[in-house]
């Protein structure tokens, strides 16, 4: 009896310590993505077509948002860990002036592309109501996972979801 109670407490403890279990990375039936039309920091127009053929981690964020700032280093670590594999991490800044974005980027070295959405057009099109919100897209550009809230992207369920989509692409076998 006591061991059962202990096991239950341990399970509960593990559940609350797992940031993604708490935050709720949500698997979705594959669905087409809304359009993405944004400028990168070099002033070049970008769409999802630029990343077709790769798994895409599309992150909606803002520099004033503490959980967005907290998860950024883990996205960079994920990028480095997955170097050479078909993964593109794209961070779309939501409804902020470019100078605010540049001010934040001066404090943190990130190797993935940052896109700008100063008027929030893409934010509305993707119906993002909270920041950060992240979408995992498969190589066909279909949405497969959604996460509202932050995560440590280089560990746990978050990394496993990315790995699953990469394996699916690399082996041709469905990950789920």
């Amino acid at each position: 009896m006591n061991s059962r109670i202990l096991a239950a407490w341990l399970a509960w403890g593990l559940w609350i310590m797992d940031p993604l279990a708490a935050a709720g990375l949500e698997a979705r039936p594959a669905q087409a993505s809304p359009a993405l039309q944004a400028m990168d920091l070099a002033g070049q127009p970008r769409t999802l077509a630029d990343y077709r053929g790769k798994v895409v981690l599309l992150n909606f964020w803002a520099s004033w948002c503490p959980p967005c700032r907290r998860e950024m280093p883990s996205m960079e670590r994920l990028r480095l860990a997955m170097r050479g594999r078909p993964l593109e991490i794209v961070a779309l800044d939501s409804a902020e002036p470019e100078e605010d974005v540049l001010g934040f980027l001066a404090t943190m070295q990130l190797g993935f592309p940052i896109l700008l959405d100063p008027e929030g057009v893409n934010t509305r099109r993707w119906k993002v109501y909270a920041l950060p919100t992240t979408f995992l897209l498969d190589a066909e550009g279909r949405i497969r996972f959604v996460l509202k809230g932050g995560a440590e992207w280089d560990e746990g369920d978050a990394r496993a979801a990315v790995e699953g989509l990469l394996n699916e692409l690399e082996t041709g076998k469905p990950s789920l």
């Binding site: 929030g120 119906k127 109501y129």
Partner: protein, 253 residues
Amino acid sequence: MVTCVRLICAWLGSSMRRRLTRGGAGRLGVFWAACLAGSVQAAMPDYQVESAQGERLLLWVSSERGRAEPEAVAARRLAQQGVAVWLLDVPSAYFLPQLPSSMDRVSVDDMADWLRQALGGGKAVTVYAVARAAVPILRAVSRLEPAERRRLCLLLMYPNLYQSADALADANYLQTGRIEGLSIRLLQPRRSAATPWLSAQVAHLANLGARVTPVLLENLREGFWARESPTPYETLRSQQLDTLVLQELEACR
């Protein structure tokens, strides 16, 4: 028996409430706890009064997170400037958890009675409601007679009116009722995930019959007066919260 207790609680409550001063809210909270423990609800919520001789009355309804000290300070400063303030901390008044959903459980009749009592005093009444507190206030306002409603003005600070707001789907709004003739100033800190949805919020309230004026508060985040790590500008504006509210109160007509 229950009716008897309810009447005693309501009578005691109204007499005590009028004598409220700072620090009295805690004692009154214990009193209400005793009343609620007997499955009795008062006719109106427990609130704190900052008296003033002027012609204006502000009903300040804090967010679901409860009242923060800068709000109490701002209310005292407003009273010194002639604006009477009734402060309502809904989770504390109703012994509810500090969650958005708690605000949906508030008795709309109680809130409507509270608004009527405010209007009955003869002062120009403005209601300032923060975040999810907008929901019980809008519901109560919809219960008022049109003539009463036209005498009110609402300042809604980043109202959260969503029943659900899931990514990739249209947001669902909570039912709050018709509010024809009501003037609303919708105050939205710019640094918020809600900012791209400001025009949708305005359209929603306008569809319910309100006249809505959106106001963007630059370089601020939601709840800037109670942030764990405020920016220097947020700290400054937090210290000037009374000025901000007074400015919006004067514009709210």
